[in-house]
């Protein structure tokens, strides 16, 4: 058979394989990039009721006196952690644009120290981008000795552009024990490392 013909085919195959491999690598990178992309997407759109994980500045705006929104607080703790997270303020009504402070109490009922973090979630999820937290215990881990009690404030604001049809915003904090480094970013650098 024609040698040139075969050589041509071989070159074509090599080129196709190289291109598909490039596509494969690109898709692999894309798959990995989907994770941070998702986080950014959630933070921007408030998808899934996620809130910002860093303190935000108070947006200087006057309160919208024409409407009142109910803000509810729910506290839960997960299994394996003998802590109680409580707040006196279960519910408050405020104007969008207005800022408010609510105090939460952490109590370690166990007989050894624990490190834990309160993970927030907001419903309805449309409201989560409009919830600005100026100070929150949820930004960092809490470490409490056996029997220790700790009071921490949440300072927040619902921005004025909160959609009109949102009448009630629920903020749920779930306490999770942080034994090992559970933050995926630090764990990616040091797999399984203790913090």
């Amino acid at each position: 058979m024609d040698r040139q013909f075969l050589e041509g085919r071989r070159r074509g195959v090599r080129r196709t394989v190289a291109r598909t491999l490039v596509a494969l690598v690109l898709m692999g990178c894309f798959a990995i990039a989907l994770v941070p992309l998702y986080d950014v997407f959630c933070e921007v759109t408030g998808l899934n009721g996620k809130t910002a994980s860093r303190a935000q500045a108070l947006s200087a705006q006057s309160a919208d006196q024409t409407r009142l929104v109910t803000m509810q607080f729910i506290t839960r703790s997960s299994s394996g952690l003998p802590w109680a997270l409580t707040t006196e303020t279960r519910q408050l009504r405020l104007h969008p644009g207005q800022s408010a402070e609510v105090s939460f109490t952490f109590h370690n009922l166990g007989n050894r120290p624990y490190v834990a973090r309160a993970v927030p979630s907001v419903s309805p999820s449309e409201a989560s981008v409009h919830l600005r937290k100026l100070a929150c215990f949820c930004f960092e881990n809490q470490r409490l000795a056996a029997g220790e009690r700790f009071e921490a404030p949440l300072v927040f604001q619902l921005t004025r552009d909160l959609p009109e049809d949102v009448k009630t915003v629920t903020l749920v904090y779930t306490l999770y024990e942080q034994q090992v480094s559970l933050s995926r970013h630090s764990a990616m650098q040091r797999p399984g490392g203790e913090t």
Binding site: V17, T20, L24, M27, A31, V35, L182
Partner: protein, 544 residues
């Protein structure tokens, strides 16, 4: 099915196992088991894929029989819920990754080079490697059944955190086996793309290729695009389980819903990976037995491409009740509804191909026609499921189970069977036994509908999927479904019988085994010799 062997005296040995294979005149390499282990011939590898897939079809089917036996009546009779969940999970995984996908790859191995006039696949050694990854992967997956804590029990969709924090220890092996199966698929896809793009007979343009080749080309691109996502998601699971990360764990700032987004970003194109080659098969078989050119060949290609593109835009329709914002629900509802347009085009084209044809109903045609009818029923329930508000009622019920079994069993599986009946004469040199094939067809059709049609009603009446026991109002539906399931399962033994008989002997088939068949594979003798098209054939496009 080693068709290249001389028929006659050695024919009886062919089916009795690879170990007894005698060497043949064409081949001077290793003999016996080693020959099959080391083969780089596309026909032999195709045969290996098909046999592997058949074995997995029966293992997965056995698991389904356990499920149906337990669900025969209310109450727990045969198995405990833990084991029931392992059965549903393994059934799904084996059928998707072990039976349907390898069957299509096997058909591609056998037929793509023959249909485009290529001497072999572009990368024969890689081909061998990608096949042998599969038995390793699935042996490992099946071995999880006897591990402490049992096999994976979290459904074939393995939603976190049930599949991470709360998973049995065997999950690590499950992840590893899925990695191997994924690598195998990727390598297979690269090989198919390289073959189709470079080894076509001189003069064969892209738009001259048979539709089976076209649909496989598009499927292969889908595989390249989504298999890395599957690999990524199961790697993240592995890291979550063993290395303290929390991609999918709220405790560490992760999100279980992220898992579902990633999984379905892979999963929905995966669904089309399992159906596009089936479209191709049916588009090849129907014109043959209608003795008429395929209506709207170009539209078929475009529709396939449209479906492939749209498949990346619809993933969250599997997640309508997970708590998506209104805009997202609407987006995914609209995009999903759009998919029914190209799918409809395909169905209309098939029917118009039949219109004013000259029809005969050989076994491959029977299966292809059943495919058109029953797949369309699955398409209708798919359209209903796309309606997001209604999906709040359908989601995770037997209505969904009915839907995807309609598109996968009388869809993908019937297409594979149609392909096997269609090409068996080419592989073995004999026609399959007509009466037995017809019995197999009719029993399968009755069994499939008896199994899956009542599931629609059970789902609408409120029966959730993946439950080992149910309340009394679902009892009648489940009993019918189980009887249908046993019938369908048993009738597949007939299929094996037909294949075995066909390998051993039967009415001799000429090179062009079907009167209306016009693709290149019908120009080589039946059975196809081990080496074909070593000199590229002269291709004159008959279509254009």
């Amino acid at each position: 099915m080693a068709s290249h062997l001389p028929t006659g005296s050695s024919a009886s040995q062919q089916q009795s196992g690879a170990a007894e294979m005698t060497s043949d005149t064409h081949h001077s390499g290793p003999t016996g088991l080693m020959r099959w282990l080391l083969t780089t011939n596309h026909k032999e590898i195709g045969t290996l894929y098909l046999l592997f897939s058949l074995a997995m079809f029966f293992i997965g089917g056995l698991f389904a029989m356990v499920v149906r036996a337990e669900l025969f009546q209310p109450g727990l009779q045969l198995v405990q819920p833990e084991f029931f969940n392992q059965m549903t999970t393994m059934h799904g995984l084996i059928m998707v990754f072990g039976a349907v996908m390898p069957a299509f790859v096997g058909l591609a191995n056998w037929m793509v080079p023959l249909q485009i006039g290529a001497p072999d696949m572009a990368l024969p050694r890689l081909n061998n490697f990608s096949f042998w990854l599969l038995p390793v992967a699935f042996t490992m997956l099946l071995a999880t059944l006897v591990m402490p804590g049992g096999a994976p029990n979290f459904g074939w969709t393995f939603y976190a955190p049930l599949s991470t924090t709360y998973a049995p220890p065997s999950t690590t092996f499950f992840i590893f086996s899925l990695h191997l199966a994924g690598i195998s698929s990727i390598l297979g896809a690269i090989n198919i793309i390289a073959t189709i793009l470079n080894l076509r007979a001189p003069g064969m343009r892209m738009m001259d290729m048979p539709l089976f080749v076209w649909t496989w080309l598009i499927t292969a691109f889908l595989l390249i695009a989504v298999m890395p996502v599957l690999a990524g998601v199961i790697t993240m699971m592995l890291l979550d389980i063993h290395f303290g990360t929390s991609f999918f764990n709220a405790a560490g700032g992760g999100d279980p819903v992220l898992f579902q987004h990633l999984f379905w970003f892979f999963g929905h194109p995966e669904v089309y990976i399992m159906i596009l080659p089936a479209f191709g098969i049916v588009s090849v078989i129907i014109p043959t037995f209608a003795r008429k050119r395929l209506f709207g060949y170009a539209s078929m290609v475009y529709a396939t491409a449209s479906i492939a593109i749209l498949s990346f835009l619809v993933w969250a329709h599997h997640m309508f009740v997970v708590g998506l914002p209104l805009t997202a629900e609407l987006f995914f509802m609209y995009s999903t509804m759009l998919i029914s347009v190209p799918t409809g085009v395909k169905v209309f084209n098939w029917i118009t191909t039949l219109f004013r044809g000259s029809l005969t109903f050989e076994p491959p045609m029977l299966f292809a026609l059943a495919f058109v009818v029953l797949f369309t029923i699955g398409g209708f329930s798919g359209l209903m499921l796309a309606i997001s508000p209604a999906d709040f009622q359908y989601h995770d019920t037997y209505f969904v189970v009915a839907h995807f079994h309609y598109v996968l069993v009388p869809g993908a599986v019937f297409a594979i069977m149609a392909a096997v009946y269609y090409w068996l004469p080419k592989w073995t040199g004999h026609y399959p036994h007509l009466r037995l094939s017809q019995w197999h067809f009719w029993l399968s059709v009755v069994g499939v509908n008896l199994t899956f049609f009542p599931m629609h009603f059970a789902g609408l009446a409120g029966m959730p999927r993946r439950i080992p026991d149910y309340s009394l109002q679902f009892a009648d539906f489940n009993m019918i479904t189980s009887i249908g399931g046993f019938l369908f399962g048993l009738s597949q033994l007939l299929f094996v019988l037909v294949v075995v008989l066909c390998v051993r002997g039967g009415r001799k088939a000429p090179a062009q085994a079907w009167e209306g068949a016009e693709d290149l594979e019908w120009t080589v003798p039946s059975p196809a010799p081990l080496h074909t098209f070593e000199t590229p054939p002269d291709f004159t496009p008959y279509r254009h």
